[in-house]
Each structure stands twice: as structure tokens, then as C-alpha cells.
Symmetry: C2
Subunit: 260 residues, 2 copies
């Protein structure tokens, strides 16, 4: 077994041709054999969406020793599921998503296709990490994050992660102050729609919005870390049971008698 190089599955939600995934693959190749199965187009904001109404397909784009790159017509989650079913010769040792062009901290974890990849890898029992940079531009500068990304991937390959836990790692723009282990910041989005146009009685809106941090003083929160120049590592559970509530819902247990 010691002669076998680690097998790393890579995907993202910005699409297979994005700069972020290209930088990620270069960064990870020294650690093992890399298989990329990534969407053939931009799929930002698609969370853990599945393609359920139509077939999806994949195609090999590039193969060389230690690297195979496939594009897939499905969502990021489809990409992971399909890679496990088709192109991976065995269970991978690590699933990595990114590097996302844009912030996936705080509540964005729920909308993130990057985290869709990571959640799927985790549900399949593989240590999984998502990397994101707080810069949406297509030509974003990932250089300050790369040494951290390789180090974290190597450490997770070595130490593993417990079942049902994965990592959401976000980087600020520019040089880093260091790394902090964080919680998901409480916050929300407001002014979420731009009134784009009307046509008769159909109203057209474009998604936009302003993020409001509801705990900006919490030094353990991921948004605090990013605001202060640190990479934020947020451990994420895929068991979303609110266990502390299980003994507090007895009021739901009895149906009412029909009154109508």
C-alpha cells in the first residue's frame, strides 16, 4: 500500500475551465494522482442540486500520468456522484472542491456548489475540503492561498477527518495573517433583488444583495477571520439534526381532532 499514491478527486462549481480549479490541480498534483470531474459550465449557487429530469454526460478532456480531466454536463454534486460511479478506479483518499471564485463563509455555505461537492464527498465517507477565495473575478490572484491549500490537503490526507465532518476553507484577498478554526457566522442577506424589468404583468428580478454580519464581534466566526486577514477553516457537519431540540418538541406529538 505504501507504493500507492493517494487518489484525489477534484471538482468545483465555476466550471472546468476556471482559473481556480486549474490552480488547485497544480497545487495538489505533488500530493497524489488527481482526477478532475467538473461542470462544463458555470454552476455557482447550485448548492447540492441534482439533475433529476434529464440524463447527464461526461467527456475526457485530458489525460497524462497522474492526471485525468473530465467535464460533465451535471451539477457539482452530480460530478462527484458520477466520478465515483465511472472514472474513479477506487474510492479516492480525498475530495477537494475549488478554488472557488468568491466567498463561501457564513450562510453562503447553504447556497455554495463548492460545498455541494464537499458535502457529497463527505456523505460518501471520504475526507473532503472546499477552498474558496473572497474574490469573484475570473482572473483572481490565488497565489497567497496555495501553500496553505497544499499543506491542509496533505495534513488531511495524513490525519483524515471524522465521519460526517468536512471542511469549508475560505481565504481573504492578499497575504495572510495566518489560519483560524472558525464557526459559521450568523448573518443574512438583504436587498436581494434588483428590479430588472417588467413585461406586462411579469416582473423580472436579478439576484444581488448585501450581506449583514449579525455577530461581527465574534472572533471565532469565519467572517471575523476573513475580515482580519486570516484564512477561515470552518468544520461542517453533514448530520444537520438539531439534537438539542429533540426533547423540546413534545408539543408536536398529538394531532388535533378534526374541527371542520
Amino acid at each position: 500500500m505504501e507504493n500507492v499514491r493517494p487518489l484525489i478527486l477534484v471538482s468545483n462549481d465555476d466550471g472546468v475551465i476556471s482559473k481556480g480549479i486549474s490552480e488547485l490541480v497544480k497545487c495538489l498534483r505533488p500530493l497524489g494522482d488527481v482526477v478532475v470531474m467538473a461542470p462544463d459550465r458555470m454552476r455557482s449557487g447550485c448548492a447540492s442540486a441534482l439533475t433529476v429530469n434529464e440524463p447527464i454526460h461526461y467527456q475526457l478532456l485530458r489525460q497524462e500520468p497522474g492526471l485525468a480531466v473530465y467535464k460533465c454536463s451535471g451539477t457539482p454534486t452530480d460530478c462527484v456522484k458520477l466520478a465515483f460511479h465511472t472514472v474513479l478506479s477506487r474510492k479516492p483518499d480525498l475530495v477537494v472542491a475549488g478554488i472557488n471564485h468568491g466567498d463561501n463563509s457564513s450562510v453562503n455555505v447553504h447556497y455554495s456548489g463548492t460545498m455541494g461537492v464537499v458535502i457529497e464527498g463527505c456523505l460518501k465517507g471520504i475526507p473532503s475540503i472546499g477552498f474558496s477565495l473572497c474574490d469573484h473575478s475570473p482572473n483572481a490572484d490565488f497565489s497567497h492561498a496555495l501553500a496553505y491549500i497544499r499543506s491542509m490537503a496533505r495534513q488531511v490526507l495524513q490525519h483524515g477527518l471524522p465521519p460526517l465532518v468536512c471542511l469549508n476553507v475560505n481565504f481573504p484577498v492578499g497575504p495572510l495573517q495566518g489560519v483560524r478554526i472558525c464557526s459559521q457566522t450568523r448573518g443574512d442577506w438583504t436587498n436581494e433583488w434588483e428590479n430588472f424589468a417588467h413585461r406586462g404583468d411579469a416582473h423580472y428580478y436579478w439576484l444581488t444583495g448585501e450581506y449583514i454580519n449579525r455577530e461581527s464581534e465574534n472572533e471565532l466566526s469565519d467572517h471575523w477571520a476573513l475580515d482580519h486577514g486570516y484564512a477561515a477553516v470552518t468544520p461542517v457537519t453533514v448530520d444537520v439534526t438539531a439534537y438539542e431540540m429533540m426533547n423540546r418538541l413534545d408539543f408536536l406529538l398529538t394531532p388535533e381532532t378534526e374541527e371542520e
Copy 2:
């Protein structure tokens, strides 16, 4: 304030014309004023996906005292966000999703557009519940669930829910043994792709799969409840931080020195 009827926002992922949402609206109308903003087509399996690449639009389908029904071209999550921004006269007292045609217990919570609605309502600070029936058929029989649904909605209107916690409620087919408060069952999907066709080097696959329960003896799990004829109420947190891991990730804090 006592004269103001509760305001209830309803959405789903099966689309505005599905039987499940129609039954849900009938069931909830005695409890308050109902506003429906639901997808104009089937959006199953779209999780908390957002529409980020194009504008979305909505249209009024029907209005009468105590009820307004809108269709929306966006995802279930878009529907909630857009309703808050446009058609709701004030913050609703309750957000309800469903009744979904199909099981959203166990890991399905991650893929569910029904739960996308619920998570969004919860992130906006509103008590939110998703109802699903373990029957995918368009003409599924929801009758056994309706008294429970009205009772639960009424109780949640009265008692509220804590911040960051929402409810995922699944019903078995047929008469109920009762209701159980549950945890998310550990399980996974296998054999997820049907090899649908090939065309040249493009391989086409259709999503399918078999669910494997990894804790079939856990009487607290939601799948156990459903298997034994009970409605399963699973409290779900939208703060997905794995808090117990925050002190166990110190190995990630130091970057390696560049070795290449």
C-alpha cells in the same frame, strides 16, 4: 395585534400545479392568510440552489380573500427570497414547504428543494416546516397526513421555534401509528446511475439509486419511524458548524514551507 390573522408563506419544489401544494394550502387556510410563491415547473432535487445567471420573474395566478397564489420561474429558494422582497406585506409568521411528493428523510435533506424552502425561511428568522410524503406519484394520497400537518403548523405558530432550527417532517404512506421526534438517519445512496446511452465518446447517465440505511436499528432515526408507520419530525439546524471539531483541527494551523 390579536385581530391580525397569521401570515403563512407556502412554497414547494414540485411546482405550483402539484397536488401536494394544493392539499397543503387547503389544509393551512383555516390557520391564517396564505401566500403561495412556488416554482412554475418541477424543481425536485435542487436543494438551496439560487438562480444567479439570469433574471427570474413571477406572476399572480389567483387572488381571493385570505389567499394569493404566484408562480415564479426561479428555484424554491428564489421563491422564498423573492416573496419576501415583493409580494409579502410583512414578515410571515410561518414558512411551510410541500407537501412534497417523495421522501426527504435521512441524507435526502441535503438534496431536497422542499428543505431549500425551509432552510431559507429559517435563515430569514421565520419558523419554518417542510412536509413530505413517501410517495412520488403525482396523484399521491395525502389524506392521512393532513390533520397532523394542520396541527403541527398551528402548534408552531403558537410555540415558535428557536433561531436557526427548522423542521423536516416526513410521512409514511397510509394511516399513521403516530408521530416521533427523530434524528437524521445515517445512510447513503448506491448504484446511482443508469447507463442511459453513449454517443461517440459522450456517455449519458440517468440518476437513479438504492438507499442503504446504515443504522436500521436506531429507533430514534427518521427512517426507522417511517419504516414503522410513524410520521418523522426531524429538527434541522441551519448552523452547520461541527462545533465539537473546532478544538481538534490544530494540525491545520501551520503552512508548510515551500518545497519545490
